[in-house]
């Protein structure tokens, strides 16, 4: 908990497609930061959020946080590949993108062939000096029991790079996830965390 002292404000943007559970993921992340003893502010988009449009939630934490929003992010967690591309634009050199790269939901304009789904996330990230944590969150969610848990599987992956204690994440899942769907989400979280922790260990 003492880790909170003198840490600057960190901005995490959670990005995805309406209906993917961005609000729930943001809520778990906020609870985790709070359990870690940090001040947290969050900004969400409601109303249209379940209707398949682009959705962004911002969570900011640190010793002292004033504004709930920021145009720049330190971390972007994207539950869909195109939204990951969108998220890159919020990240600067040294930023981290945790992206569900296997989840591709083409928007209407792409389906109608008016626009192109972007290619090559890795190259663009490299050009921007952004570190990518690529996760097959959909497979992990399925393994946990429901494809709908992409959001929490991705959050599990992000937990391996975000600076909170494991116990804070556990407490956050307990607080923010409704009892009815908690077990499956705890499994998805663990699988996501394991996948990235392995990767980080191998790389190290």
């Amino acid at each position: 908990m003492s880790a909170a002292v003198s840490r600057p404000v960190t901005t995490v943007c959670l990005m995805g497609v309406g209906g993917q559970g961005i609000l729930l993921a943001a809520s778990v992340l906020s609870e985790a930061a709070s359990a870690d003893g940090l001040m947290v502010k969050a900004s969400e988009i409601h109303g249209m959020a379940q209707r398949g449009g682009s959705v962004v939630s911002t969570v900011r934490f640190g010793e002292r946080v004033h504004s709930p929003v920021s145009k720049r992010a330190d971390y972007v967690l994207a539950t869909e590949l195109l939204e990951g591309h969108r998220g890159l634009r919020l990240l600067g050199d040294g930023g981290t993108l945790v992206c569900a790269v296997s989840t591709v939901i083409p928007p209407g304009s792409v389906l109608r062939r008016e626009e192109q789904y972007p290619a090559d996330l890795a190259a663009e990230a490299a050009a921007r000096g952004v570190r990518i944590v690529a996760v097959d969150a959909e497979a992990l969610a399925r393994e946990a029991g429901t494809a709908k848990a992409v959001n929490v599987a991705l959050l599990g992956a992000a937990s391996a790079v975000l600076p909170f204690a494991a116990s804070s994440w556990d407490a956050a899942l307990e607080r923010a996830v409704p009892a009815k769907i908690r077990a499956v989400n705890q499994r998805a979280f663990a699988l996501g965390r394991g996948a990235v922790a392995d990767e980080v260990t191998q790389a190290g």
Partner: protein
């Protein structure tokens, strides 16, 4: 330096009556065009003025002191006049009529403008088509009202122009000015009256009828359908329009400087102008006939003409605040009462002590700098992802069926606005909660046929669609109202409403039956299952062919609440020729491939795509009931 006043109405009137006085029938003088000079109440003058201005549609809810405006219009040729159930519906109905291409005027008392504020504050973004004039009659001193309100606040709030006549002749003349302004600037225009104008009488010299320009209705959702992406652009239009309107106010012949012979100036508007002229015939006067937005340079110029400046206005210190904002010393509500009606004695008494008081030190006006607008959003190099109707939303059937008819479709607030997006493209407009039915009524009445339909959700219908329906029924409007009943307030997160009967604590109260409600107000109503596409197509076809007003209630629960996968759609790649019929329903679960379509996991098996496919390339395989997680 000084503006020449346009030939004063009263001067012209005097000349005319000298020339042709005393007709044997005692009906008063006849002017050069052979038209009667009438002795009219301000409200009657507005009614006559509307017809003279070429208005073809008038509506209102009665309220003292505004009532006689519509009553007068109803007695005149060439204009359809009707009462609506309230001021909100009246404004929405007038919006529909002006969209259809007919100059329209809607009148109400000041408190009625509160009721109409919801459509007004978005109408200022969409603008009009043919001109639209809103008359609000204030009642200072509350001769017949529960409160005092200064309607000028709404002009400022809505960022629209206001004209303020000061006598019956101006009431008559300003209506045509208001319509011209409305069309030139694509804005609703407020015309403010007050009790003494509305219920005072004076001679009115009739003028040549104005032939309004022919205006066609053109579908343009970027202008008429105020979802966030378009409303953001229209907000910018509205703010830029306000700047142009201020420039117009600087030059408008309605804003007149009348020179005086004593070193004292008064800025005034509306009926207060008459009290000023009677109390102080020798002072300089700046009369603001166009009283919003204020002409800053003209006010500063006027201030420079005199050593001492006062503002005389009934109710709120609206002009006074502008003068003070310009940094100019002024006598305002410190002398003139802020409540109740004024009269010449009150004005005389209030300002007399200041006439010989030492002049304040002269100051240079300080003009506000131009407002900064947000820079236009840069188009992103990534595909946009707009909200869409959910996979499995059975109300998609209604939009698909509606598109087969050649009808304009007035939409409403909530999920069903998403029917406007490509490829559905099924809606023309959306203004505010409950506006669709009133707009449909006005649109169809203006064109004299069933030219448009209204599309509204169940919760929005309960919010304020019911009043629109009753108004349309009362006025025998042609129309087709589609109520898409998903038994919840879906867009905000599935709250209860009187249809579902669900309360915030999730207990169930009584449920209101929309079919029974329509039966109760004697409106033809058919309730159908939104899952039955064939029945929807038939019902809409039948309604369009049947004269009068009809309602179709399409029932299907919100797909997000049901969340069931009732089947799997299989694609026969041999039969599919990628004709696009299934893609046109706008379902995000259907993805075009090279020469066939693919159905994604998000498909709920609703089967609409199977029904629209003409080649039998799609089949629905029902899911056996398992009760498992999908």
């Amino acid at each position: 330096m000084l503006s020449n006043r346009i030939l004063s109405c009263s001067d012209e009137l005097l000349q005319d009556s000298k020339r042709t006085n005393d007709r044997p029938d005692g009906k008063g003088a006849v002017n050069r065009a052979g038209m009667d000079t009438l002795f009219l109440m301000g409200n009657e003058a507005i009614g006559y003025g509307a017809v003279r201005a070429g208005a073809g549609f008038a509506c209102a809810y009665p309220g003292t002191p505004s009532t006689e405006i519509l009553e007068t219009a109803a007695t005149l040729e060439g204009i359809r006049a009707e009462w609506c159930v309230n001021e909100k519906v009246a404004l929405e109905t007038a919006v529909g009529a002006c969209r259809a291409g007919v100059r329209s005027i809607v009148s109400m008392k000041h408190v009625g403008l509160n009721v109409a504020a919801d459509p007004l504050l978005t109408l200022t973004e969409t603008g009009v088509n043919a001109g639209l004039v809103i008359v609000s009659a204030d009642d200072p001193s509350m001769a017949s009202s529960q409160n005092e309100q200064d309607s000028r606040n709404y002009a400022r709030f809505a960022k629209i122009p206001m004209l303020e006549p000061s006598d019956s002749q101006e009431a008559y003349d300003f209506v045509a000015e208001a319509f011209a302004l409305s069309e030139e600037f694509d804005t609703p225009v407020l015309l403010r009256s007050s009790t003494k104008l509305s219920h005072g009488r004076g001679q009115v010299l009739q003028r040549e009828r104005v032939e309004p320009p022919q205006v066609e209705y053109v579908k343009d959702i970027t202008k008429h359908l105020m979802v966030p992406q378009w409303a953001r652009l229209r907000t910018r239009f509205m703010l830029e329009r306000l700047v142009r309107l201020r420039e117009r106010a600087e030059e408008s012949p309605l804003n007149v400087i009348e020179p005086g012979t004593v070193d004292f100036g008064i800025i005034t508007s509306g009926v207060a102008y008459q009290y000023v002229k009677e109390a102080f015939p020798d002072v300089w006067v700046l009369k603001l006939g166009m009283s919003w937005p204020h002409p800053w340079r003209k006010i500063a110029e006027f201030s420079g003409q005199v050593s001492r400046l006062a503002v005389v206005e009934e109710l709120d210190p609206i002009i006074e605040e502008t003068v003070r904002m310009l940094g100019l010393p002024v006598i305002g509500k410190a002398a003139i009462p802020a409540d109740g009606e004024l009269d010449q004695d009150m004005v005389c008494e209030a300002l007399a002590p200041y006439l010989d008081a030492p002049a304040p030190e002269r100051r240079q006006p300080v003009f506000p700098p131009a407002q900064r607008l947000r820079p236009p959003a840069q188009a992103e190099d990534l595909p946009v992802r707009l909200p869409v109707l959910c996979p499995g939303c059975r109300h998609r059937s209604v939009f698909t069926a509606l598109k087969r008819q050649k009808l304009a479709a007035h939409g409403d607030i909530g999920c069903y606005m998403l029917g406007a997006d490509p490829p559905l493209d099924a809606l023309d407009s959306s203004l505010c909660m409950g506006a669709s039915i009133g707009m449909m009524a006005g649109f169809n009445e203006a064109l004299g046929r069933k030219a448009s339909a209204a599309v509204i959700g169940d919760s929005t219908f309960f919010h304020s669609g019911i009043t629109g329906l009753i108004s349309a029924a009362y006025n025998e409007a042609e129309g087709l109202v589609l109520i898409l009943d998903n038994r919840t307030t879906a867009m905000t997160g599935h709250q209860g409403n009187p249809g579902s009967g669900v309360r915030p604590d999730m207990t169930e109260g009584p449920s209101i039956d929309i079919q029974a409600l329509c039966d109760g107000v004697n409106v033809r109503c058919t309730t159908i299952d939104a899952k039955d596409y064939g029945a929807i197509v038939e019902a809409i076809k039948t309604e369009v062919a049947t004269p009068g007003l009809g309602v179709i209630v399409a029932e299907a629960p919100c797909a997000l609440l049901v969340r069931e996968k009732s089947g799997t759609v299989l694609v026969d790649d041999e039969r599919c020729n990628l004709c696009g019929l299934c893609l046109a329903i706008g379902c995000p679960s259907i993805v075009p491939e090279e020469d066939t379509v693919r159905i994604t996991d998000s498909c709920t098996g609703c089967g609409l795509c199977v029904e629209v496919c003409k080649r039998g390339a799609l089949t629905l395989e029902p899911t056996p009931v398992t009760g498992g997680v999908r």
